[in-house]
Symmetry: C2
Subunit: 337 residues, 2 copies
DNA sequence: ACTTGGCACTCAGGGCCCAGGAGTGCCAAG
DNA sequence: CTTGGCACTCCTGGGCCCTGAGTGCCAAGT
């Protein structure tokens, strides 16, 4: 249906359009890429490609630009993943090297990705559910309040304030802390809820009300996978030229945690780099945008996702390369700590 | 020099321009505001105001728009702070009510401010330096690494990974933890450095190397007021019409923590709501922007700053009202917890 | 000494037209 | 199937004119 040359033409159109942002015509094509056929031939191919829905012309007598479907074919069959240059690899390493805790890893990653791709970068905080409890700390804040700090083996620190039904004595706190750590240390967060459910038996009746309050906050923290936050960076890379309907709606979408979570969630395969192009995104404000995303996490597990968002007119091979590389490096960093 | 009517004219010009974003002419002025003089009179006043540098015309035969100096006079002498409506107050309360920890207070505050003012909101995390240590926790992460968690009485949790020079045993950790908490609990962070300096004496020679590593990280965390982060929200409220040179440079400035810190730092009085208009900002990308900012903190102390950033063409009275009100409410919340 | 109506002047913006040029589609020949 | 030729389309940018809002100035009025 589409012979090799037609595919080559499509590839050339995508590449040219990506780099110039102008509709590309038959003449321009033949001399910029060395296809050794005449413009007329290309025109025939183009008209077939248009018929099939891979390209369109903005108006009669203008060049062609790829459709979402055209980009789709391009990433699926016509382009690979462009590996990073040595310099870029070095940049990644030095950039991530100084990261001490999870927060700084995430913040650096998002900046790094944005710089590398010159797009908007999004990085999701590693999900709690697959990590395990390293330590639980209770700190009195006032008579009726405790600060609960939960530290995971992925180096994540969750903090919540617990409102107590009754005053609590220092030694009760100590005991509670001991029980919690004894029972929960090393447990996968996924199992915490069930373990906690059995805990009240171990406590005297007097201590139960306060303990239950603490327990329910723990379960909340763990179960509701609260705060699977997404961090965004590089918004200044957005260029109005690429979003006809204005940056406004894009910026809006980027500020909505919920929207971003949904967006990242939709994308299929966890491990591979996947691409969602334009209208493939269910999110309203991002119908002109593409998402290049992959999972990452300590070692090979995939705890969360990171990627870049840009105009459909995006340099996919490079973006995919950068996303893949960054995800790997971050995975390494997380595995070490 | 400027009689009452001229001031009234300036005020009217500012108000009209803020609401319409179009240069305002003499005729429009007289019938929108009920000045009972003729347009010609207004024209004379305007020409004086222009001579003095309070307004300009974009081109001959266009209306006038305020200069930065004009806005300055407006906020200093012609406008008060507009108190919030009852509905808005209620909105603030309900919005902030559900905030449990510092992170969520800050996040909610930034969203709240952005919604209330329809501008970009910036909220600085409360500075560490004025708060006191509530608790220090050490958690082994690997043989040569400790996770140090420092909890302050403002509910802030700082986490750092400590690289140890030698392996450390469980009981050393316990002892170190005890010493740290005994000596530092309740101390102002400002004093921590000096206290820590005297600690090594209390330890046996064998433990010193590891302990010193921990100490230096603590001092770093505390002294370098590391991570006085600024959170930004409401970027989608930026409208291209207001920034002739494009949103790009504004977005860039907003992503630079350092720049924002400097911006917030510059502004004078801690307690009052202060306004910096256009070119008064030293930051390059924000020469067309104004900043309305105030200090906030538990009770009356001022731990950090929050405010909004928008075009110089901003509704200052409303913005100032919102900023002041939000700062107060947040102060209350922080004081309670 | 201000204020006011009158009047001439200025200029940005919108509409219109035109020419140039890039690009297309079609066709007939190779 | 490819190619050169050719007529056609229509976007783009420049130039032109006109309109209208708005000004500055002046001379008369209070």
């Amino acid at each position: 249906m589409l012979d090799d040359r037609k595919l080559a033409v499509l590839r050339a159109i995508v590449e040219d359009f990506v780099s110039t942002n102008e509709p590309v015509g038959s003449k321009a094509l033949v001399d910029r890429h060395n296809l050794d056929v005449s413009p007329a031939t290309i025109r025939n191919d183009m008209s077939v490609l248009e018929e099939q829905g891979y390209i369109v012309q903005p108006h009669t007598s203008a060049g062609r630009i790829p459709t979402d479907q055209g980009y789709r074919l391009f990433v699926d069959r016509l382009s690979g993943v462009k590996p990073l240059s040595a310099a870029e690899r070095r940049a990644i390493e030095t950039f991530l090297a100084g990261a001490y805790d999870l927060d700084s890893v995430v913040m650096r990653t998002v900046r790094l990705l944005a710089q590398l791709t010159r797009q908007v970068a999004v990085v999701q905080y590693p999900s709690l559910t697959r990590s395990a409890v390293r330590h639980i700390e209770l700190v009195p804040v006032s008579e009726r309040r405790l600060l609960l700090v939960l530290i995971t083996d992925t180096g994540r620190v969750e903090q919540r304030v617990v409102e107590l039904p009754a005053e609590i004595r220092e030694d009760s706190i100590t005991q509670l802390r001991a029980v919690l750590n004894a029972c929960l240390d090393g447990r996968k967060l996924a199992d915490v809820a069930t373990v906690v459910a059995q805990l009240p038996e171990r406590l005297s009746a007097a201590e139960q009300p306060n303990a239950v309050a603490v327990f329910s906050v723990i379960v909340e923290t763990v179960v509701e996978r609260h705060e699977e936050r997404v961090v965004v960076g590089g918004a200044s890379n957005l260029t109005p030229a690429d979003f006809s309907r204005g940056l406004h709606e894009v910026l809006e979408a980027l500020e909505e945690q919920v929207v971003l979570m949904r967006l990242l969630g939709e994308s299929g395969d966890q491990a591979a780099v996947t691409v969602r192009i334009g209208s493939e995104n269910e999110v309203d404000g991002l119908r002109n945008a593409s998402l290049v995303v992959t999972g990452y996490g300590a070692g090979n597990q995939s705890l969360a996702r990171l990627g870049v968002i840009g105009p459909t007119r995006m340099d996919y091979p490079t973006a995919m390369g950068a996303v893949r590389a960054v995800a790997r490096y971050v995975g390494q960093i997380l595995a070490e700590s």
